[in-house]
């Protein structure tokens, strides 16, 4: 069992480090982890889950606002949703999503339709990628615990 636990812990550590190194996560995610404890063991998963719900809702708002078939595009409506997404992504440490929102906001302000559509597609891909990677991470955590091991504290620096 120990060999299995060690292997899982190693995978967990490697996966975590790569998420930071590849820019998916930043310091704010580390802060979230610090707020988790035995009394609230699912805090990070819960916040991230709310974040992904936000992504679905806001991206759908943006898509609707960018739909030219209903008339002229209201860039301020798009911008409002982008601003909200930027806020949530910042609060959970979703670094790449946040960076995309910054560019997206610029395109909204410039009323650049193609730029906005491109950002919308990218943000959609990006949040789904993050979601999938975090799911892998949470699964590893679960497996470690089920095997009777402790989830390691990973020092990013």
């Amino acid at each position: 069992m120990d060999a299995l636990i060690s292997q899982l812990q190693r995978q967990f550590r490697d996966h975590t480090i790569s998420l930071y190194q590849q820019g998916f996560l930043d310091d704010q995610f580390t802060e979230l982890k610090k707020l988790q404890d035995d009394g609230s063991p699912d805090f990070v998963a819960e916040v991230l889950s709310l974040f992904f719900e936000d992504c679905v809702k806001l991206i759908s708002n943006m898509a609707r606002a960018l739909d030219q078939t209903t008339g002229a595009v209201d860039f301020s409506t798009v911008g409002a949703s982008v601003h909200q997404l930027k806020g949530s992504s910042s609060s959970v440490g979703a670094k790449r999503v946040k960076a995309l929102c910054v560019s997206f906001k610029d395109f909204c302000e410039a009323q650049n339709f193609e730029g906005c559509v491109r950002c919308l597609q990218q943000v959609d891909i990006e949040y789904k990628t993050l979601k999938s990677k975090l799911q892998d991470l949470f699964n590893l955590e679960k497996q470690i615990i089920q095997a009777g091991g402790i989830v390691p504290q990973v020092d990013i620096n």
């Binding site: 802060e31 610090k34 709310l50 974040f51 719900e53 601003h83 806020g87 949530s88 910042s90 609060s91």
Partner: protein
């Protein structure tokens, strides 16, 4: 607290004996005004914070930050709901809300409908709640915005994402203010008790 101070004295001569009892209790050396105010938080309620934010993610986050910092938390999703909670929405008047003990209000700046700035103004206009410190949170570092909020009486302006250190700093400064108020009150009571005791002694009771 290990003693009870009554500041009401009956002027009825038949209550002379109760005055004697009172003199015993109020002898200065019997008052145990301890310097230990750690009981302040445990005997009273914890600091109660009202947090206002339209973002689900941020509500969850600020709630956790506050719980981890040993605060009691009430979270609402809009300025309107905050006003309802405080009884300032004009529906019920403020009757019955004088007992609502809120030590701090933390609100997001940009919210649909009423902004955090407008909420701040409404709170400062209220005779019951104007003394409650209001902290504004924002993801944008806009100096004129910060100035405007501070001018309107905001206690502090925090950049999002809010840090645990920010919350701890706020809580510590609030605890110090409560501690000071508590000590002032106890000192005042001690002076009153001294005064009464002297009067009673002079009356040779």
């Amino acid at each position: 607290m290990q003693y009870q101070i009554s500041s009401t004295f009956s002027s009825n001569p038949q209550s002379l004996f109760s005055l004697v009892d009172m003199a015993e209790v109020l002898r200065p050396e019997m008052l145990d005004i301890s310097n230990d105010t750690s009981s302040l938080a445990s005997s009273q309620e914890l600091l109660h914070v009202l947090a206002v934010d339209d973002s689900m993610v941020d509500r969850k986050f600020i709630e956790r930050l506050l719980r981890v910092s040993s605060c009691k938390v009430t979270v609402v999703d809009s300025a309107t709901r905050a006003l309802q909670y405080l009884g300032l929405d004009g529906e019920n008047g403020s009757v019955g809300f004088e007992d609502l003990k809120i030590n701090l209000i933390m609100t997001d700046y940009s919210m649909p409908g009423m902004t955090g700035y407008e909420l701040l103004k409404k709170i400062k206009e209220s005779s019951i709640f104007r003394e409650i410190p209001v902290v504004i949170m924002s993801s944008e570092n806009i100096l004129p915005r910060i100035d405007r909020c501070l001018e309107e009486g905001a206690e502090d302006f925090l950049l999002k994402p809010v840090k645990l250190a920010d919350v701890k700093r706020l809580r510590d400064s609030l605890m110090k203010a409560e501690e000071r108020a508590f000590k002032n009150l106890m000192h005042k009571r001690e002076l009153e008790a001294n005064d009464i005791y002297s009067q009673l002694k002079r009356a040779k009771i």
